[in-house]
Symmetry: C2
């Protein structure tokens, strides 16, 4: 399992109790379908472990983690921002419309086509967003 707490320490972040709690929660949820929590979910889970934590701290902490390249923010079509640990390999997401669960995939072919398209339009590809929204088959 990814250990965000350790990664944060290694990056020189001062780890308070609150930050450790939040790092643990995001680590535990990892890249599982039920992962990619939003601030509210993190806040609720953090409140179970520390009934004094403030949602403002959660917002400040995920922003900090993001700035330090520890986690990544995604804005799917459901509105609220969601977070996941940064991993070695890039990947895109398929979101289950019904449950909100998130699945990861990567496809080098699509990546190279994207680069080609940008090039043809006269652009250097800096970033991209690819999300698939689907319904489970045979449910």
């Amino acid at each position: 399992m990814i250990n965000l707490k350790k990664i944060c320490q290694d990056k020189g972040l001062r780890m308070t109790d609150q930050r450790n709690t939040i790092a643990d929660i995001i680590s535990e949820l990892g890249g599982h379908p039920a992962g990619h929590p939003d601030v509210n979910l993190i806040y609720m889970k953090a409140s179970e472990k520390d009934n004094n934590i403030s949602i403002a701290t959660v917002y400040r902490t995920v922003k900090l983690f993001e700035e330090y390249g520890v986690i990544e923010k995604h804005d799917f079509k459901d509105g609220r921002s969601r977070y996941e640990p940064i991993q070695d390999s890039n990947h895109d997401h398929l979101i289950d419309i019904d449950s909100g669960e998130v699945y990861e995939f990567s496809n080098t072919e699509i990546e190279s086509i994207q680069k080609k398209i940008a090039d043809e339009l006269g652009f250097e590809l800096i970033d991209h967003r690819l999300e698939l929204y689907g319904k489970k088959i045979n449910k």
Copy 2:
């Protein structure tokens, strides 16, 4: 040029002055790079033609047009929602990071790969979002 005013009438929408004004503005901006206006831009342009129009009306109108399948909403990474007339063919977008301009493209190969990926994960592909973010080369 797309005539949203006419499309709205054909769909049976009651066309008030405000709705006509807004339809014209979105039609004029069309699919050009400077198109895909956000509510604020529409509101500012509408205010030039009708100095009494309310931003609440702009919000209500774009929502209405969207529900009637006349325009489409996009949430690019810059925050505010942007709108464009619905066209026959599907397309995706490349956004110029510096100017905010939006270019359209479509690629059948990517589309079929997307479908395949969803299928392999056990999903029926309902919707997708593909955005490229780039910087102009040779500027």
